[in-house]
């Protein structure tokens, strides 16, 4: 093959040569005819007639050259663009609908990519990362691992390349007179090496820095912290930064764009595991096998499956259980993929994003149905054009190719627009998710996979768009099509049945989406008004972190007492109390194995209910009733015997026959006496199953970072200002965290529902819009094609109102059919929402009713204009045309 033939210059020469060759042919034929005695004029005309269609001859000859596809493509593209420019209404509408369809999908997949599948920027080989999750046999919750257990796994597992601890933590840094909360991670020494991230300045951690209680106060800081807080100081290494009261030496700066290995917050500093006590509450835990605080992941060796690794790790867990029954009884270790990581936002968002993917696909289907409809209309409108092109010798294959090229232009424009939509929406999730005062980091990743998916959708839709109009085009019967077509009748004919079918599909899918959105709204309403077992009205809370400010135990206690007295003295404050962990916090409650006197646990049962450290008045402030026994008092201090208040479930479980009051259990080597029974409440979420829980006095189990709960009649703004003033009066170096009302705080915990509602709401709205456009298109086309029939009816005595009713009835039938199908689809598919629904039946009549009303209103709006136009038909004109 001669490659030169593909070059444009060589092509142009060939073109000229062909023209010359054919011209010579004609001249010769002419000359011969003249020689035979024809007049020159006749000779020219006859030679031409004999020659046939010059353009066609050139065309078919050129096609022999081969390698023409590029040229032909350019020609098709030019022609396609011209055709699209000629009907801008169609083009804009088609591109708009498809942009919404492709954009929705690109956005959702880019979130799935960036949040679930490959969440950690700059980290290599994330598909081989698995999360180590602690489980208790027969229970649903999860924990981390203890540090000694992690070390055993690291030593004994052979299928892992590396085992890494990356426990999330945080500290408060003073920034002027305002406290800034920054997120950090407590990591094992191999962290940076294992994830393949090299600090841009300085170094990562050395193996020795992992052990020794508080022995290695060194820190690697994030690039952003280096840039913003230290103004990109080139001499940063070796400088000291006070963190949680301990001066830390800065030994490294992480590369730009690296946000740690956590889904939700951007991590800005990393400290070695030896500093655990400084950054994690509950004392020194590196030697303690009973406290499962470690969040960790492992990297599988290449070619190892998760199932193989799981088998090995289960064996290790079993051995640990046999070796250390008093701490590990019933403990299992589960390997979880990154997208089901329970330690960060991944697991909470994964079901929501799965729903979003389905919903986005619905939107794409609706958009495609819409564009197919538009194309069908256009292809009938273009029948004459196609017929003429066939008549002057265009091949059917060429016609189809032309149509596919036009489709390609539309879908390529839409794919570009869709990616733009995805890009603009990349931070949508972080914006929708309510934050508790810490910046969120939930970026979408628009990588080659997202591009590939968009290109795939684009290709599939192009094919669809090429083929839909090509079907009637390639069926054109030349003879009969030259004659003009007669107008279609309302309903009836085959092609209007196809179009009606597409509208049915659109209406039913949007109805199903409306139902889903409605169910989520009802769930959110139910959650907002549900009682979590404590009072949310009039209660406000704000964190006071003295550990980060470097307070020791004695100073913490004094500060906490003084602050509580000052707050209680404020006007409008009815009561105030501390708790280490506020209800519905993202922070885990404490948990540790306990031994209950008089209770014999089952063979593999290890009682370790969660508990919270609270001050006296906590129950009054939150309105949790004490059912029997007493509240904590000032007398329950370090000198007195440790006491506890248990909830109803715990009382019933461990003291099934007798009175729990006076019962004794052993916690961390201390004998604790039960002095009260509290009413059941929700502790973490509204959706949780009732669980065992108890409270101990903060005075006897002290903590440096606590949450102040205040019941007051003051508005939140005034309360926050007053609180800040009191805290500053005690120590200008301490600042309270952002103040929330309890109602807000509880609502934030329903963020998965909020996100789902936002996404389904947006997509449902789009779907309704697209379906309305589709219905409008079908109705107005039917009316414009049915002019003759309408005119005839009018001439035969139909009133304008009859015609109006005729068209409206047609629209109503389509809508009703779509709603019926949609209702069936909704009943079948709302199970998908499962875990997101709260106290609402998936077949809630109110939701179905409202969705029906919305659909009916939209279809009324879509049909009104065409119906009005039908009613104004001028019979004289309609029949004449």
């Amino acid at each position: 093959m001669n490659l030169r033939r593909f070059l444009p210059s060589s092509r142009r020469r060939r073109e000229e040569e062909l023209n010359a060759e054919l011209a010579t042919h004609l001249r010769m034929a002419e000359a011969e005819r003249v020689a035979r005695g024809e007049s020159p004029a006749d000779a020219a005309a006859n030679a031409r007639r004999e020659f046939g269609n010059v353009g066609l001859v050139k065309q078919t000859t050129r096609e022999m050259w081969g390698g023409l596809w590029l040229e032909r493509l350019a020609q098709d593209l030019r022609f396609g663009l011209r055709m699209l420019r000629r009907s801008p209404g169609f083009s804009i509408l088609a591109v708009f609908c498809l942009t919404l369809g492709i954009g929705s999908n690109a956005a959702v997949y880019s979130w799935i990519e960036g949040i679930l599948l490959r969440p950690y920027a700059l980290v290599a080989g994330q598909d081989r990362m698995v999360v180590l999750v602690g489980k208790t046999r027969g229970e649903t919750g999860h924990t981390g691992l203890s540090w000694p257990d992690l070390l055993e796994v690291r030593r004994n597992a052979t299928l892992f390349e590396s085992v890494v601890c990356d426990k999330i933590t945080g500290t408060t840094l003073a920034a002027g007179d305002r406290a800034e909360r920054v997120s950090g991670q407590i990591v094992s020494a191999n962290y940076f090496e294992a994830i393949g991230v090299r600090p841009v300045r300085g170094r990562g951690f050395e193996p020795s820095e992992e052990s020794g209680r508080n022995a290695h106060p060194v820190v690697v800081i994030g690039y952003r912290m280096w840039r913003d807080r230290f103004r990109s100081d080139p001499g940063i290494l070796g400088k000291s930064q006070l963190m949680s009261g301990v001066p830390h030496t800065i030994i490294g700066v992480a590369p730009e764009g690296f946000n740690g290995t956590f889904v939700g917050y951007p991590v800005q500093f990393w400290v070695p595991a030896s500093m655990e006590e400084t950054f994690d509450q509950g004392g020194y835990k590196l030697d303690d096998r009973s406290i499962p605080w470690v969040e960790s992941f492992a990297r599988l060796k290449p070619g190892v499956t998760r199932a193989q690794a799981q088998a090995e790790i289960s064996g290790i867990a079993k051995r640990l259980e046999a070796e250390y029954p008093e701490t590990n009884r019933g403990k299992e270790i589960e390997l979880s993929p990154l997208w089901r990581n329970p330690f960060n936002a991944a697991e909470r968002l994964s079901s929501t994003l799965q729903i979003a993917a389905v919903v986005a696909f619905f939107v794409l289907l609706i958009a495609c149905a819409n564009v197919s409809n538009l194309l069908l209309v256009r292809s009938f409108a273009r029948r004459r054009e196609m017929t003429i092109r066939l008549a002057i010798g265009s091949g059917r294959g060429r016609l189809v190719r032309q149509l596919i090229t036009e489709g390609l232009i539309v879908s390529a424009l839409a794919a570009g627009g869709g990616l733009l939509v995805a890009y603009l929406g990349r931070d949508l999730l972080a914006r929708v998710l309510p934050s508790r005062g810490v910046a969120l980091n939930l970026p979408a990743a628009i990588d080659w996979r997202v591009l590939a998916i968009s290109a795939g959708i684009c290709a599939a839709t192009t094919l669809l768009f090429g083929l839909v109009p090509a079907i009637p085009a390639s069926k054109i019967d030349l003879a009969s099509s030259i004659k003009s077509e007669t107008g279609a009748v309302l309903g009836g004919s085959g092609r209007s049945r196809v179009r009606s079918g597409l509208v049915l599909l659109q209406v039913s899918l949007s109805f199903a989406l409306l139902v889903a959105a409605g169910l989520l709204v009802r769930s959110l309403q139910a959650m907002r008004s549900a009682s979590p077992g404590f009072s949310t009205a009039g209660v406000m809370l704000s964190g006071i972190d003295l550990s980060s400010a470097g307070y020791d135990a004695a100073r913490q206690k004094t500060f906490q007492h003084e602050l509580l007295d000052r707050v209680r003295a404020l006007g409008g404050v009815r009561s105030a109390a501390y708790a280490r962990v506020a209800p519905f916090s993202y922070r885990p409650n404490s948990t540790s194995p306990i031994v209950i006197e008089g209770y014999a646990p089952a063979r593999d049962e290890l009682p370790a209910p969660e508990y919270d450290e609270v001050s006296p008045d906590f129950f009054t402030t939150l309105g949790i009733p004490i059912l029997s026994g007493r509240d904590f008092t000032q007398a329950d201090d370090v000198t007195a015997q440790p006491v506890a208040i248990v909830n109803e479930a715990m009382a019933a479980r461990y003291w099934p026959r007798g009175n729990p009051l006076g019962g004794i259990f052993h916690l961390k080597g201390r004998a604790v006496r039960v002095v009260g029974v509290a009413k059941m409440a929700n502790y973490n979420t509204l959706l949780e199953v009732p669980k065992l829980f108890y409270y101990v006095p903060l005075e006897q189990f002290p903590a440096g970072a606590v949450v102040l709960h205040v019941r007051a009649t003051l508005p939140p703004g005034a309360m926050a200002a007053a609180l800040a003033k009191e805290v500053h009066a005690l120590d200008p170096g301490v600042a309270p965290s952002q103040l929330f009302t309890m109602r807000e705080y509880v609502a934030i915990k329903s963020d998965a529902q909020t996100v789902a509602l936002t996404l389904v709401g947006i997509f449902g709205g789009l779907a309704l819009l697209l379906a309305t456009i589709g219905l409008y298109g079908v109705m107005s086309y039917a009316v414009s094609q049915g002019q003759r029939e309408l005119g005839l009816r009018m001439a035969l005595g139909a009133a304008a109102s009859d015609l109006l009713a005729l068209v409206m009835r047609h629209g109503a039938v389509l809508t009703a059919g779509g709603v019926l199908l949609g209702a069936a689809a909704a009943l079948g598919s709302t199970r998908l929402l499962g875990s997101l629904l709260y106290h609402v039946s998936p077949r809630d009549p109110l939701v179905f009713g409202s969705a029906f009303l919305a659909m009916a209103a939209a279809s009324l709006a879509a049909c009104l204009l065409p119906a009005w136009r039908a009613a104004r038909t001028d019979p004289a004109r309609a029949l004449r045309d």
Binding site: A20, E21, H25, M28, T60, T61
Partner: protein, 120 residues
């Protein structure tokens, strides 16, 4: 193939056959497109009519396959014409097609002959 009034019932040539006819025509020497068309018509007693819409695509296709080659020359009446000639490959193809055609023509003649004449 029946023969009535040659002018009124010219027969269009099938695609595969056209290649053979063109190659055969060029055996007598190089010729331009118009000349080939004229020669086919004359050579068949005005029965075979080559449409230009078939002739030029066929010429260019054969050229691409290397069976014929083309050059620009100046004709006797001073016109620049594109002249086609047979190549070695073209000669080989002609031989092959020719024997194929002979077999086909024989077979069709056999089929068309009245049963009484074809023996038995």
């Amino acid at each position: 193939v029946k023969k009535v009034d040659p002018a009124a019932s010219r027969i269009e040539i099938l695609q595969g056959t056209l290649d053979l006819i063109i190659l055969q025509t060029l055996r007598w020497g190089p010729r331009h497109g118009y000349g080939i068309a004229q020669m086919i018509r004359a050579g068949s007693g005005d029965v075979l009519q080559v449409e230009t819409g078939s002739l030029y695509p066929a010429l260019h296709r054969l050229e691409l396959k290397g069976a014929i080659a083309a050059d620009w020359e100046v004709s006797e009446n001073n016109q620049r014409v594109r002249v086609y000639r047979l190549t070695a490959a073209g000669r080989r193809q002609l031989v092959a097609e020719r024997s194929k055609w002979d077999r086909l023509a024989g077979a069709i003649a056999e089929l068309m002959a009245p049963p009484s004449e074809s023996g038995s």
